[in-house]
């Protein structure tokens, strides 16, 4: 009995260990942070107090919603434009050779560099921030979609021809698993850029919260902003990761 049970018990213990490991590490980091707290590094207690204050006043929620709104619109537009562009570049050699140099050129320019033009063209408010977020995620998304579409096995197109299925009908399902991964990565980029985008021309959002806190020398609030951004980033990724559970894309994740 014991001989049979003991390996099971170790594996349960191991699984528990794996589950608790991130929490243990967090506690350890928290302890290190407390020890390091000084005039330039606000203590976890101070940050916790600032967090509660901001949460109670409702500002934290308002800022999170404002940021999420801009990222959703900017990233949504990037997906609407980037995915079709990527599919086209992936399947058409002439489109690819015409556009790829320009895409690679623009891709290496940080979206931050566009800030002067963003303000010049779109004034102040949500639009310039949305534009920056769009720029940051549009090209990476187009490129990943392109490479996914360009590497669809030739055999699928031959089968489609034998069975009278139009090519466009197999394009999307064939790239979907890679597309989901690309969406996760580029959503992460979009969310990362929101801080920079909100440091211009807006008076709300988590990026503005950090900028505003810096101007008031409230380093505790800066850290509150960072923590909330990180937490929402994980949440966003978890939501997009759920797309991989769709049964018709499992093949791309289980090979």
């Amino acid at each position: 009995m014991i001989a049979v049970e003991s390996p099971v018990r170790t594996s349960v213990a191991r699984r528990r260990g794996i589950r608790f490991a991130p929490w243990m590490l967090s506690l350890l980091l928290l302890a290190a942070w407390s020890a390091a707290a000084s005039r330039d590094i606000p203590s976890p207690v101070a940050v916790g107090r600032a967090f509660l204050q901001e949460a109670k006043s409702g500002r934290l929620l308002d800022d999170s919603v404002a940021s999420l709104f801009r990222v959703s619109v900017g990233f949504g537009l990037a997906a609407l434009a980037g995915v079709p562009l990527g599919l086209w570049m992936g399947r058409s050699l002439s489109a690819r050779s015409a556009l790829l140099p320009a895409v690679n050129f623009l891709r290496s320019i940080s979206p931050i560099a566009w800030i002067p033009f963003a303000i010049l063209w779109f004034g102040i408010g949500d639009l310039p921030a949305i534009f920056i977020i769009f720029l940051a995620s549009f090209l990476p998304l187009a490129l990943s979609t392109m490479s996914a579409a360009a590497t669809i096995p030739q055999v699928y197109f031959r089968v489609a021809r034998d069975y009278g299925i139009p090519e466009r009908k197999i394009l999307l399902p064939a790239v979907l698993p890679e597309l989901i991964t690309a969406l996760r990565v580029s959503a992460g980029i979009a969310w990362m850029v929101v801080v920079a985008a909100e440091m211009i021309a807006v008076r709300s959002g988590l990026g503005f919260l950090i900028l505003d806190a810096r101007n008031g020398l409230r380093t505790d609030l800066v850290i509150v902003g960072m923590i909330v951004i990180g937490a929402i980033g994980i949440g966003l990724d978890r939501v997009l990761a759920r797309l991989a559970r769709i049964s018709s894309v499992r093949w791309g994740f289980e090979r």
Partner: protein, 223 residues
């Protein structure tokens, strides 16, 4: 049903096929065999109309479907959905291929032999009168190969069709073919056509089968 006239093909500077003349009768099962890299698959894709020859003619008297070496099932569709692409009679083909209970599986969850059966079922659903098979059993173990051959023969008994099967396996050829077409090394020409008028299923110990195996071995070794 299918005829080629002086069929030639080149990839750039490389001559792959050199003047192949071949006529395939309706409901005939022709196995094309040759040394590896001789252009068998190119020949098949020209017959199937998946690529255009650089010279000569292909005439095809019906619609064809190809079963691919690499596995041509759409991984985003279930077994049932894949077979349904071929046309009606899904349940009947599922039963014929012994795929009951796996209808809602996705291909990546199936073994190599089962995937081949699904692909065969999909090709057999509907009314395509020609089947092109490109090394269909190459990735399967010996027992599964033997089983797949009899599955194919059974399906053809239920509904006869014209079949062109490309292989490098002599056993496939002698077990299945009405005629074996032996290609030479690249640039490929028809070296010999070997008729096999033997009832199926064929006994591997049949002296005519043993004779055919010897003959094909010698022909292929000469290359």
């Amino acid at each position: 049903m299918i005829a080629t006239e002086r069929l030639t093909h080149r990839y750039g500077e490389l001559d792959v096929l050199q003047g192949i003349d071949l006529a395939i009768e309706k409901n005939e099962l022709v196995v094309v065999i040759g040394p590896s890299g001789c252009g068998k698959s190119t020949f098949l894709s020209l017959l199937a109309g998946h690529s255009e020859p650089t010279g000569g003619l292909v005439r095809r008297g019906g619609s064809g479907r190809t079963i691919h070496q690499a596995g041509g099932l759409f991984p985003w569709l279930t077994v049932r959905e894949n077979i349904a692409l071929g046309g009606g009679r899904v349940e009947e083909l599922v039963a014929l291929m012994g795929l009951e209970g796996f209808e809602d599986y996705y291909p990546h969850r199936l073994s190599g032999g089962m995937k081949q059966r699904v692909e065969l079922a999909r090709a057999l659903a509907g009314d395509a009168s020609i089947l092109f098979l490109d090394e269909p059993f190459a990735s399967l173990d010996y027992q599964t190969r033997v089983r797949m051959r009899s599955v194919l023969l059974r399906a053809l008994e239920v509904r006869p069709r014209t079949v062109v099967l490309v292989t490098h396996d002599i056993d496939d050829a002698v077990q299945l073919a009405d005629r074996v077409v032996v290609l030479s090394a690249r640039p490929a020409e028809v070296r010999t056509v070997l008729p096999l008028e033997i009832d199926r299923p064929r006994d591997p110990a049949d002296p005519r089968i043993i004779g055919a195996i010897k003959k094909l071995r010698n022909l292929l070794r000469l290359e």
